[in-house]
């Protein structure tokens, strides 16, 4: 009798929860999350703490949970601290899917991310190829943030494994601060006049690093992960070599799907032990949303404000 | 053993960098005596006391207690061997109550883990009431400087000591409180407690003490029994010269009254005083007397715009003074010297020169709004010389000066401008006899040159000796104005307290007993 099962009940609400909620990385994720929600006739909400603080993020998660939503798409700032809140949510009937960072030991039903290791690996290949497989490179780090650390270590590992003539000459902590990155790259360039490339796992440092590289005569290739308008402009101008950018849109869209499915396991009659074991039959442990390589040629397609204008939406404010 | 003096100092020296505060001084305190220590400002009196009290360590020399040499490493150590010190500079915890301040040493020594506030309040009340009825639950920050001085004394009195050191305890007190203190000191003496008493008031020394030791320039000069000496003699030993005239000549009685420089009428602040009328004429020095807490300082501060008035008017040199802040008053030529030099008189961390120039920077400002440092130095040097400030140089921080010398810097600041009227609140507080004479002469000179001078003082001889007329304040009202002919201690005390003088002293006697 139900012509279309892919519809939400009235009041069925899905929430996305993040830390440092004011930064743009999340916006495309939520945008597609929201679009999926609209297509299903669901309510969606964007929540999180503006601060970089796991304790505060958990507080917002708990608050969202207190309103008994159907599902939460969460980016857990640290994995283990979220075990208890996620389990509490799941036990209370709220589906939880993690994205971009995982809480593997919790009862979340799915995890969707781009592959940090693949991102780091690709970045390494791209840099090394451009340098003819030979030269000096350095990395700027943000020690302590898991996905950033993964990208860095994948980058370095790949260099060591596949590009024996690429030499790692420096590691400095820039902690997502453009001025620190600026100083670090200037210092590195002093110590290593032949420095040919620098890689960093996020976009904030890149602004400072690129400026330093430019002042150093433009010999240093700046490679990073993530993009924003400024980075895109610099890529187009040749001041930044390139960026690996996760496919945020799919992260949001598929994230919603995974949540919705997890909330509606009754739609299938599982051909396994899920029912007897009391497990969620719609569990999809891992989804890779892929990533793009942003270079001069395709940079134009990644501007967020242009996308918003084209779509006529208000982004996270609805 | 009982023959040994309670406290003996042998060839003790102390230097602060290039300044030799004390060089080879000696001192001896017998059991049950009240021993006065005299000397000019900066002679090293407080420095010596600070070493006995464990706050400073001597460079050379010995301190003997009961004949045995001791090292007094800290104030706690001093207390342990029975030395109590009332500091010249008030050192109280402003955020704590009077009671807690008074009982602080006891609280510190207390073994029980929890406070017994009832006991603290009771003990403090007992100690405080011997001196003055100050509510022990008030925060010290809410007290005037003179009340704080009383708290400081009460604090020392609670200690179980055999040597009590009083470093200028009466500098901010009026006759009434001073007399109470003396009665207490005499009681202590009877119980065999020895007292070192530092003061610049000769009358007090000669009525209270048994012996007197004089220091000059950080050196020991002499020790005499009180009966064997005279105030003039002590002053001569202190200053190194004879002081013939203690106070400058007053206006002749038949002099024509000058024009009104400052007229205050109907001034009220809504809380502390009401309906105050005052008039200051050119050529005269007007005194303001009264008991502690009578509201003298408040009246003066209100006249100058340092506190808000609710009613009344102030006319300065014929012009109605409509001021919103003290800065306006200074601009109009009306300046005020605070009685509380530490809290509002000087900048302890800044240099002497910077302190002296604080009141009128405009005068020292050259082109482009830059400070003329040479003019600043000249001004500071000349005023410091005039007032006899003992210092290592005008670049020294005021905190390195002795109490009296800090007061001189505060006065120098007022004198650095050329105001129409100066109101001085306890100007000679802590200042030695010689310098006092000099300051009084300066004030008289200024008065003769047409500058209006108002002196608020708790020291009756100063009011009587210096001023041409004295207005007496009682509980926020002018109780009366006394002219030259009427100026004597009894009349002032009577006006100030509203009782016959004899009755006042009897009341005190009962209180003490």
């Amino acid at each position: 009798e139900t012509a279309n099962p892919f519809k939400c009940e009235p009041g069925e609400k899905y929430v996305m929860n993040v830390m440092v909620s004011g930064v743009e990385y999340w916006f495309p994720v939520y945008e597609m999350f929201k679009q999926a929600g609209q297509q299903f006739g669901c309510e969606t909400e964007y929540t999180g703490t503006p601060e970089y603080d796991v304790n505060k993020q958990i507080a917002t998660f708990d608050q969202a949970l207190a309103q008994k939503p159907a599902g939460i798409l969460v980016h857990p700032m640290n994995s283990d601290p979220f075990i208890e809140p996620i389990n509490r949510a799941t036990d209370g009937g709220t589906a939880v899917v993690t994205f971009a960072a995982d809480s593997p030991n919790s009862k979340r039903v799915s995890y969707i991310t781009s592959d940090n290791v693949a991102e780091g690996t690709y970045a390494a290949d791209a840099v090394a190829e451009a340098m003819g497989g030979k030269g000096e490179y350095a990395v700027l780090e943000n020690p302590g943030q898991d996905n950033h650390d993964k990208r860095i270590s994948a980058f370095v590992t790949r260099m060591e494994a596949k590009w024996p003539d690429m030499k790692l000459v420096g590691r400095a902590a820039s902690n997502q601060d453009p001025t620190k990155a600026y100083q670090a790259v200037l210092s590195l360039a002093q110590a290593h006049p032949d420095l040919g490339a620098v890689f960093m796992p996020e976009a904030n440092s890149a602004i400072g690093a690129a400026q330093a590289a430019k002042e150093g005569g433009g010999k240093i290739r700046v490679m990073l992960a993530d993009v924003n308008a400024k980075i895109l402009d610099m890529i187009k101008a040749g001041e930044i070599f390139g960026s690996v950018n996760p496919n945020q849109g799919m992260q949001g869209y598929m994230g919603f799907m995974l949540l919705w499915l997890a909330k509606h396991p009754e739609l299938i009659d599982p051909m396994n032990d899920a029912k007897r074991a009391g497990a969620n039959a719609m569990k999809v442990p891992f989804v890779d949303n892929g990533f793009s390589i942003v270079t001069k040629d395709n940079a134009d397609d990644f501007y967020w404000d242009k996308y918003l204008k084209r779509r006529g939406t208000k982004g996270i404010e609805e | 053993m009982s023959d040994a003096p309670v406290l003996q100092i042998r060839s003790l020296s102390k230097a602060f960098g290039p300044v030799h505060a004390l060089s080879g001084v000696q001192f001896e305190l017998r059991r049950g005596e009240v021993h006065a220590l005299c000397g000019e400002n900066g002679a090293g009196k407080s420095t010596l006391m600070n070493m006995i009290g464990g706050i400073l360590q001597p460079d050379e020399g010995d301190i003997l207690i009961d004949g045995k040499p001791v090292t007094i490493a800290s104030p706690a150590a001093a207390q342990k061997i029975g030395i109590a010190l009332v500091h010249q500079e008030i050192a109280l915890c402003q955020d704590a109550t009077v009671a807690e301040n008074i009982c602080m040493a006891a609280i510190n020594a207390r073994r029980a883990p929890l406070m017994n506030f009832q006991q603290v309040h009771a003990d403090a009340e007992k100690a405080m009431n011997r001196l003055a009825p100050i509510a022990v639950r008030t925060k010290v920050a809410d007290l005037s400087i003179s009340s704080q001085q009383l708290v400081e004394i009460a604090k020392a009195l609670t200690l179980d000591c055999k040597v009590l050191i009083l470093d200028e305890p009466t500098a901010a007190l009026t006759e009434t409180e001073a007399q109470r203190l003396f009665a207490i000191v005499r009681g202590l003496k009877q119980r065999g407690i020895s007292v070192i008493y530092i003061s610049h008031r000769m009358a007090e020394i000669f009525s209270l003490c048994d012996r007197v030791t004089v220091f000059r320039d950080g050196r020991y000069v002499a020790t005499e029994a009180i009966e064997a000496t005279s105030p003039n003699d002590v002053v001569r030993k202190m200053v190194g010269r004879e002081i013939t005239q203690l106070y400058p000549d007053k206006l002749p009685a038949d002099a024509k009254p000058g024009r009104a420089l400052l007229s205050v009428s109907g001034l009220s602040d809504g809380t502390r005083f009401a309906n105050v009328d005052l008039e200051l004429r050119t050529g005269e020095i007007l005194g303001i007397g009264g008991l502690i807490g009578a509201g003298r300082s408040e009246i003066a501060q209100t006249i100058c715009g340092l506190r808000p008035a609710t009613a009344g008017s102030v006319v300065l040199d014929g012009k109605n003074l409509a001021i919103r802040s003290y800065a306006d008053a200074v601009r109009a030529g009306l300046v005020y010297l605070s009685e509380d030099r530490k809290r509002s008189g000087v900048f302890l961390d800044l240099s002497i020169a910077a302190n002296v120039s604080a009141l009128d920077l405009g005068k020292l400002t050259g082109r482009f709004g830059l400070l003329d440092r040479r003019a600043e130095a000249d001004q500071a040097t000349s005023l410091a010389r005039q007032l006899g400030v003992r210092m290592s140089g005008i670049d020294a921080a005021v905190s390195t000066l002795s109490g009296g010398n800090q007061q001189k810097v505060a006065i120098a600041k007022q004198l650095s401008v050329a105001p129409k009227v100066i109101i001085m609140d306890e100007p000679t507080r802590g200042i030695d006899v010689g310098a006092k004479v000099e300051i009084h002469r300066l004030l008289r000179d200024l008065a003769n040159r047409g500058v209006g001078i108002i002196v608020i003082s708790s020291e009756l001889p100063e009011l009587i000796g210096l001023c041409d007329r004295v207005a007496v304040v009682r509980e926020g009202r002018i109780a009366g104005v006394l002219g030259t002919g009427q100026l004597n201690e009894e009349t002032i005390i009577m006006l100030a307290s509203g009782v016959q003088p004899n009755a006042v002293y009897e009341g005190q006697a009962q209180n003490v007993a």
Partner: protein, 328 residues
């Protein structure tokens, strides 16, 4: 009978006067006003779930606030609290992973936190540096130690025994242990700070160090022990965080110091020393928390959250200031 009414009236008035004269009265009024406004604006506000979330969000940090307040009273400051919280987590966590039982590991974690406090106390009292610069250096050094120990990756303490995790995650008839511990710590220290002889010396030292010395108080000892206490409480908080999160992240607690100091200052502590109460500081913390969670509940756009939060904070502090000033 008429007289009786009057008496009751007078005593009511007296107890009202006592309330109004409390330093904390203004804050309580403001927080209540905010809560009432919020419960009208959002049906979700006045729910146990929401209150639990708010309480949980500041209980552990509240323990750090206790130490900071006492340190502020003595005239000090500790910028390293966030690092020390993290260090305690990391040390306890690493020891647990190395095979120690979690209780011993936690005790050691708290002990090394106290040791850090002692080192800071040494630099402040013996070397003579000020608290600001000492604790700033400690903040950087201790954070560095966390990185060194963890090599930058969070320690996963999934294997912590449930009875240990219960400290952070369990509850007693619906009331989380974390909240109970918080309330007990606050109550004890609030009481001690008001009544204990030893803690009065903290006020005296902070109010006028010289005067305290003149009364025989060994102010350096006082400052030393308060510094140690603050670090120890931070270490204790770290252990509870570990139990709560089941993890030790090397970046945890960054920026905590500002929040903690802000709470204490809103609650009446002065950076100049000599004043402050624990109850007030906790109210300050509560105010910050209520404001933050209100904005989230009202679904205010994240772009506007910070701005509105700051404005409410400023308004609340100004209102408190006026209420308090009128009183005195």
């Amino acid at each position: 009978m008429h007289a009786e009414i009057k008496v009751a009236d007078a005593s009511r008035r007296a107890s009202f006067a006592r309330f109004a004269s409390m330093r904390e009265a203004g804050l309580i009024v403001i927080i209540l006003a905010l809560c009432i406004a919020m419960s009208l604006a959002s049906p979700h506000f006045l729910t146990w779930g929401n209150f639990r979330a708010m309480l949980m969000s500041f209980s552990i940090e509240g323990i750090v606030v206790v130490g900071m307040t006492i340190l502020l009273i003595v005239g000090g400051i500790d910028l390293s609290v966030g690092s020390v919280v993290c260090f305690s987590m990391v040390v306890s966590g690493a020891l647990f992973l190395a095979g120690l039982d979690p209780w011993t590991a936690s005790l050691i974690g708290i002990a090394v936190s106290a040791l850090i406090g002692a080192v800071m106390g040494f630099f402040v009292t013996v070397v003579g540096l000020n608290h600001f610069i000492t604790s700033l250096a400690a903040m950087v050094i201790v954070r560095g130690l966390c990185l060194v120990i963890t090599k930058g990756t969070p320690l996963s303490l999934f294997t912590l025994p449930p009875e240990f995790k219960a400290i952070g995650q369990g509850n007693l008839q619906g009331v989380p242990y974390v909240i109970i511990i918080f309330v007990v710590v606050v109550a004890i220290f609030d009481f001690l700070l008001r009544r204990a002889t030893a803690f009065r010396k903290v006020f005296y030292t902070g109010s006028n160090e010289k005067a305290a010395q003149f009364s025989g108080i060994k102010t350096n000892q006082v400052k030393f022990w308060v510094t140690v206490l603050c670090a120890t409480l931070s270490g204790f908080a770290g252990v509870i965080y570990m139990a709560r999160f089941g993890a030790a992240t090397p970046t945890f607690g960054a920026g905590m110091e500002l929040n903690v100091i802000a709470a204490a200052v809103i609650g009446g502590a002065s950076l100049k020393g000599g004043s402050g109460t624990i109850f007030g500081a906790i109210l300050g913390m509560a105010l910050l928390s209520v404001v933050t969670s209100s904005l989230i509940l009202l679904d205010i756009s994240v772009y506007w959250q910070d701005m509105i939060k700051g404005c409410i904070l400023l308004a609340a502090v100004s209102a408190d200031h006026f209420l308090h000033r009128k009183k005195s």
